[in-house]
Symmetry: C2
Subunit: 96 residues, 2 copies
Amino acid sequence: MNNTVQKLEESYKHILQTFLHDKSEQGLYEAQQFSKILLEHQISPEELVSIHRSILEELFPNVSSEVQDSFELLLEVMMGYGLAYREHQSLRDRQK
Amino acid sequence: MNNTVQKLEESYKHILQTFLHDKSEQGLYEAQQFSKILLEHQISPEELVSIHRSILEELFPNVSSEVQDSFELLLEVMMGYGLAYREHQSLRDRQK
């Protein structure tokens, strides 16, 4: 895992913990801002799902194996979105 | 909820249940194919996360409230991806 991803993972963990504690609108606002940072760093949507899964496992080690495994499927479907997104980006770059 | 989304939700539920039961490569392959169908129907990544969340709640009603709530944050971050994706699509359509 490179340094940037590690830092982003720590930020997301912090945002998620605060949100689960406070359930405030502020947390959702922070999530929106965080999403812009992820896009700037070209983090794919499946990477985000993967980060979400590992943080859940870390924060809640008792999460059932079904829920943990379900993320594998969500990740797989999300990869299709990541691919489509990267295709659009390269299309856009070629047309610049 | 419109009819298409409802049908897609049923398909995803079926794929997820089979995957959680068999844990086979076949399930991951089905997820890949399903992701193409979602993209064809212009289902946004946040809609997929929302579908995933509701099916988990349906299949595993005992999922902790923290895990359920965590999806709200994942959804919010994913919205940024959905927005970027739609912007790219409209850019592509304009350039046709």
